[in-house]
């Protein structure tokens, strides 16, 4: 009897200590697919840098919330002059960089001047092109003067490319990033992982996590085993949608299915014959069965789109009806355009599975209307060289993950080479428009123009599917920007 009691007590103690261990868990390991090339978000296009560092290590004047809304960051508040060209930012007081130096207005001047300089390596220089001058009035006040009113200036300042860096630490930023965020950079094991630690001197609410590790696993099968074995607590943007069914059935995991800003398109080389003819482009769009692609390539995860705009955005117009799946109609259009027997073209596919799998499905659908698309699978470097910079392709599939990027259709030298002065004028007008109602109208008009011009085959909005330990709370389900913001993540139980 006594023995039983003893062991029961021991068991209770054991349970207690075990429970205590759980409560104390304050670190997290997050699996990611792509490792950053270096750690300076202000000088590279690589989204992997922002994913690890945005909001965690680096902060901007404004910041994105989980729903894509723009809120105060290092600027506590701001005033906009009546003509819309002068922004006065009131900065937070007592903010320190991770190296102990103070964050002041001069750092903002330095960061913005650096980003918009002639020789700047910033990947999104357009964000800063409207800035005329940046002045520090006193240590906590910065005035930004614009050339013309700019409707989305606060949005622009929330981007990962617009984060505030310090002149003291800029030389080593690529290997030792120093920001103002809730976490400070701790270690980068190249080819393996990046570790960040809680910043004890953080100006805002302290994060629940003491330490976080981003572990880079590019192979879907390796990601699956690591998740199943418990080596990682979450996998952000899980690369193999086919495994999600299993994770969903497993009570240990939660599958977060959210939206990304990734419009997945069948890009058409508008300057390559026969794609110069809008009837041919329309025929291509009508040959495509979007739902079959979403089911076949993404295992049902994804939302069909009819234009280059995110469906979760309030200004989105559903234009999928402009190109319904209609192989017979597509054949008739091809005949009308002078290709009754179809034609041959190339379909160059980058590595992601949405492209490789989607490409096989699209090639089969195009074959049904007589278009023979010869598939070639390319690595990213080859894709950038041949397709993105070399214009040497007929068709390709890629997901455009930048938020609000409809403006790329106004660049005639962009890789799909769409040149429409009407559209370019609209985007120019949009960039100086401040009135929300007019902006909505203009954005919707822009969506209609590219949809009715059948510039590209608009396929689906890429779903963001993350697999998360069921006890982990606070991972953003959506990706309003390229970020894995861990400031609000905690363990429950």
């Amino acid at each position: 009897m006594i023995k039983i009691q003893q062991s029961a007590t021991a068991f209770a103690l054991l349970a207690l200590t075990a429970g205590g261990a759980w409560a104390a868990k304050a670190d997290v390991t997050i699996g990611m697919q792509l490792e950053p090339p270096h750690l300076d978000p202000t000088s590279a296009a690589a989204g992997a840098i922002d994913q690890a560092l945005y909001s965690n290590v680096f902060e901007g004047l404004t910041r994105f919330g989980p729903d894509g809304s723009v809120g105060p960051g290092l600027a506590e508040s701001w005033e906009i002059s009546a003509d819309g060209t002068m922004y006065t930012f009131n900065l937070r007081e007592g903010v320190k960089f991770h190296d102990g130096t103070d964050f002041e207005a001069t750092d903002v001047v330095f960061s913005l001047d650096r980003a918009r300089a002639e020789d700047s390596a910033n990947a999104q220089k357009a964000l800063f092109s409207g800035i005329k001058s940046v002045e520090a009035i006193d240590p906590t006040t910065v005035v930004v003067t614009l050339n013309a009113p700019q409707g989305n200036f606060l949005f622009n300042m929330a981007w990962g490319d617009a984060v505030i860096v310090a002149p003291e630490s800029i030389d080593d930023i690529k290997s030792n990033p120093v920001g103002t965020g809730a976490f400070k950079f701790s270690e980068w094991k190249r080819g393996d992982s990046i570790t960040i630690e809680r910043n004890a001197d953080y100006w805002g609410a302290a994060p629940a996590l003491e330490q976080a590790t981003f572990k880079y696993i590019s192979e879907p099968t390796a990601a699956f085993s690591a998740m199943m074995a418990g080596d990682i607590d979450a996998f952000y943007s899980y690369p193999a949608p086919e495994n999600l069914v299993q994770f969903e059935a497993d009570p240990r995991f939660t599958v977060l299915a959210g939206n990304t800003e990734g419009e997945t398109i069948l890009a058409i080389n508008n300057k390559m014959e026969p794609f110069g003819d809008v009837r041919v482009r329309k025929a291509v769009s009508m040959a495509i069965d979007r739902q079959a692609i979403i089911d076949g390539a993404m295992f049902g995860y994804g939302t069909p789109i009819g234009t280059h705009f995110a469906p979760h955005h309030p200004d989105y117009v559903d234009l999928t009806g402009n190109a319904p799946h209609d192989p017979e109609g597509a054949k008739a259009l091809l005949a009308e355009a002078g290709y009754p027997d179809g034609f041959e073209t190339t379909l160059k596919l980058p590595p992601p599975s949405y492209a490789r799998r989607g490409g096989e499905i699209i090639a089969a659908q195009l074959r049904d209307v007589g278009i023979e698309a010869e598939i070639s699978n390319l690595e990213w470097a080859q894709w950038l060289e041949q397709v993105f910079r070399g214009y040497d392709y007929g068709l390709t599939i890629v997901s455009h993950t930048e938020p609000m990027d409809i403006g790329i259709y106004a660049r005639p030298t962009y890789y799909f080479q769409y040149d429409n002065p009407e559209f370019q004028a609209l985007i120019t007008a949009l960039s100086v428009e401040n009135d929300p109602a007019t902006r909505t109208e203009m954005l919707q008009e822009a969506q209609r123009i590219i949809s009715e011009d059948y510039v590209n085959g608009f396929l689906f909005q890429l779903a963001l599917t993350s697999v998360v330990d069921a006890r982990l709370d606070g991972i953003w389900p959506d990706a309003p920007t390229q970020a894995v913001d861990l400031t609000g993540v905690s363990w429950t139980e």
Partner: protein, 280 residues
């Protein structure tokens, strides 16, 4: 031994019979697929994807709803075509090189050919194949050339090695005395005497060719979609193995059984054709 005796001996060799039966099964499948397959392999029916083997789809369907049996039949065609041409390249270039080296043994030509072979041999064969397909782009043709190239030194060495002792034989000497040149002697007297060896080696290289094609396709450097290939079928099945194991099993077995069959056939042929082993 008479023709009849050779045939009877062949039937007695279990390796030879089993090997040939396996290889023949796939050859027949490939031939049949030229005219007929249960389903069209280029037609995707997403609605019926990832179905387990059943009476309708004997080997099940893949992630695009294609019939796996049909894909294996057409894939056999791909494998066999690549392997035949690759072995053809290897023999077509390697054998003459080997004969020439043997005819000019010890001289500059021999040295040049054999050191050139060593150079090709020095690189792991798959590495060369990956290099070629990366530089010139992935396609069936480049895969064939790549696999063919590393077959050349195999045949060159084998031919030279087998031809060298023949050159010291009396009947070669009498041929030389009667005024035949080295080219004629090589073709008329040396080649027929090394054919047995070449057939055996060709069978083995054929199975290696099938394996190499599967490996190249597995990493995406072989035959491009939509042409089915066993290697790519395996690669496609990789992340689906937990929910659709049949997608990996059938192409895997296809590769295993074909290669096994060809190796058994090669072993059996060697036993049959090599006089030293046959008489033992």
């Amino acid at each position: 031994m008479t023709e009849d005796g050779l045939f009877r001996a062949a039937l007695k060799s279990r390796n030879l019979v089993v090997g040939h039966l396996l290889a023949a099964a796939f050859a027949i499948g490939a031939l049949l697929s030229l005219f007929w397959t249960p389903y069209d392999v280029t037609e995707l029916t997403i609605a019926t994807r990832l179905q387990a083997p059943s009476a309708v789809h004997w080997f099940g369907t893949d992630h695009f709803g294609r019939d796996i049996l049909s894909m294996i039949m057409v894939g056999a065609q791909t494998s066999i075509a690549v392997a035949i041409v690759a072995v053809g390249i290897g023999m077509g270039i390697g054998v003459p090189l080997g004969l020439a080296a043997a005819a000019r043994r010890g001289r500059l030509l021999d040295e040049t050919i054999m050191r050139g072979n060593d150079l090709v041999f020095a690189f792991p064969s798959l590495l060369i194949a990956i290099m070629i397909t990366t530089v010139f782009g992935p396609s069936a043709l480049n895969a064939i050339i790549a696999i063919g190239i590393f077959n050349i030194p195999v045949f060159a060495r084998l031919t030279r090695g087998a031809a060298l002792p023949l050159w010291t034989r009396d009947y070669i000497l009498s041929a030389r005395v009667s005024g035949k040149g080295p080219v004629r002697i090589s073709v008329e007297h040396i080649l027929p005497n090394v054919t047995n060896l070449l057939i055996v080696q060709g069978t083995i290289q054929f199975s290696l060719g099938i394996l190499a094609e599967a490996a190249l396709s597995y990493v995406g450097l072989g035959v491009q979609p939509p042409t089915p290939s066993w290697g790519r079928m395996l690669a496609d099945s990789q992340t689906l193995i937990a929910i659709a194991p049949h997608m990996a099993m059938f192409p895997g077995f296809a590769i295993l059984l074909t290669v096994l069959g060809l190796n058994l056939a090669g072993d059996g042929l060697r036993d049959l054709l090599d006089p030293r082993i046959r008489n033992a």
